[in-house]
């Protein structure tokens, strides 16, 4: 398939390369900042960098818009797509209907449920790609495109995808934040974060195997309020983190 990618952020960066490698052709990479588009194009077989949203002459049949959520509807409106173009976005939160401003009726969502950072390669094979489409024909095309890079295609409507994205924030972004805090606590005492790595790996493996609701350990689930209080005292100098510790511990205590 021939595909144009609008955007050059973390998602666009990895998605473009995965599609390129799997035998699809990336025709254009758009970025407001042409240097970013060129950087991504240099990783691809034969894509053209552009800072124009006029795609009238593009060979692409699918246009993937992967820009910050607050820019999406404006970009969709400003762009000019060729006849019969399929236009999709990659956002977990935004409804498909945000693309109704585009000059096409074939719209959809192509949301890879993963955390992307440019400096770390990802294996798309295991990533679930969540699809929504305006019509069956478009859905089939997007499904085929998704299966060209991954083995796990799922179908979510805009409402369910919002909940999925919210759950992903807890499972990924907030989990990572907890690791940042753990590392900061240790580094403030010149202690190494490495000692926690086996614990972190086991925490996740156990939660995925038993279900996290059966894997909770620690002072709060034991209702060990003395230890919880000692920890709160240790966090005295960081009132916001102390508050987070307290609220989460209260919630864990309510679990059983």
């Amino acid at each position: 398939m021939k595909i144009a990618i609008i955007g050059s952020g973390n998602v666009a960066w990895h998605l473009a390369q995965a599609l390129d490698k799997s035998g699809n052709k990336i025709t254009e990479i758009y970025s407001r900042n042409i240097a970013n588009a060129k950087k991504l194009c240099s990783k691809l077989y034969d894509a053209h960098a552009t800072d124009s949203l006029d795609f009238a002459a593009s060979q692409a049949s699918v246009f993937i818009i992967s820009v910050p959520d607050n820019a999406l509807s404006e970009v969709a409106q400003q762009a000019y797509f060729p006849e019969n173009a399929i236009v999709v976005h990659t956002s977990g939160t935004l409804a498909m209907s945000q693309l109704e401003t585009a000059n096409t009726n074939q719209i959809g969502v192509f949301y890879p449920l993963q955390t992307f950072t440019k400096s770390k390669p990802v294996d798309f094979k295991t990533i679930p790609i969540c699809i929504e489409a305006s019509d069956t024909k478009t859905e089939k095309t997007l499904e085929k495109l998704a299966f060209s890079i991954c083995e796990n295609v799922c179908f979510y409507d805009s409402e369910d995808r919002k909940k999925l994205h919210l759950a992903a924030v807890f499972a990924c972004n907030f989990t990572n934040f907890m690791l940042i805090k753990a590392k900061t606590i240790l580094e403030n005492e010149d202690l190494s974060f490495d000692v926690l790595k086996p614990l972190i790996r086991e925490t996740i493996e156990k939660a995925l195997e038993l279900g996290p609701e059966n894997a909770q350990t620690g002072p709060a689930i034991r209702k060990d309020t003395k230890t919880v209080q000692k920890h709160l005292d240790l966090l005295n100098q960081q009132p916001e983190i102390q508050k987070i510790y307290q609220l989460i511990s209260e919630q864990i205590m309510k679990q059983k």
Copy 2:
């Protein structure tokens, strides 16, 4: 080495079995509730279950007390240990000095930094065991004992171990709590938690590889306040979880 274990909770359960398998001899398992001690003994080569804290006739040279933190100092005081006994506890939070009530001068800490749940076997080899001791001879004995079951022995004094335990609560217990919340959000909509598993695994691998401070993604770090607000709205029916979402997001926004 001959070892008696006082306690039959999650830590005692796994530690006793690991020591038993590695060629040490577990002489006694103590529990207030003899049935629990017997259950653990049934997993061991030739250990004796007891609900008496009188160890005057015990063959053990090392006594590992693994009871809830709030019971430790009472248990240490009530127990009677044979001459020259080494008495240690397994708590991350409690100071070694909590054992000064025991009738021995050789005391220490033997803290395996891991999350233990009875139903899930663990591989001790990769687990860091954190040691503290009242004197060099005791330290050498504990080090030898630790190396008999693991490959990673570290030395922390009581102050540093407290910080380590606090960090572990963030890295393990709070991380698991975030996974519980993610699962609950999905199950409330009849959506499967399985779809998040590749994301969760990648989140952890990325954080351990790049460092969590270089791996943060999501709406908060992008300062995407619109999405943050939408998520807060979705959590309207759960004010405590909403508050946790808000506080963590504020902290993430401050990261860069």
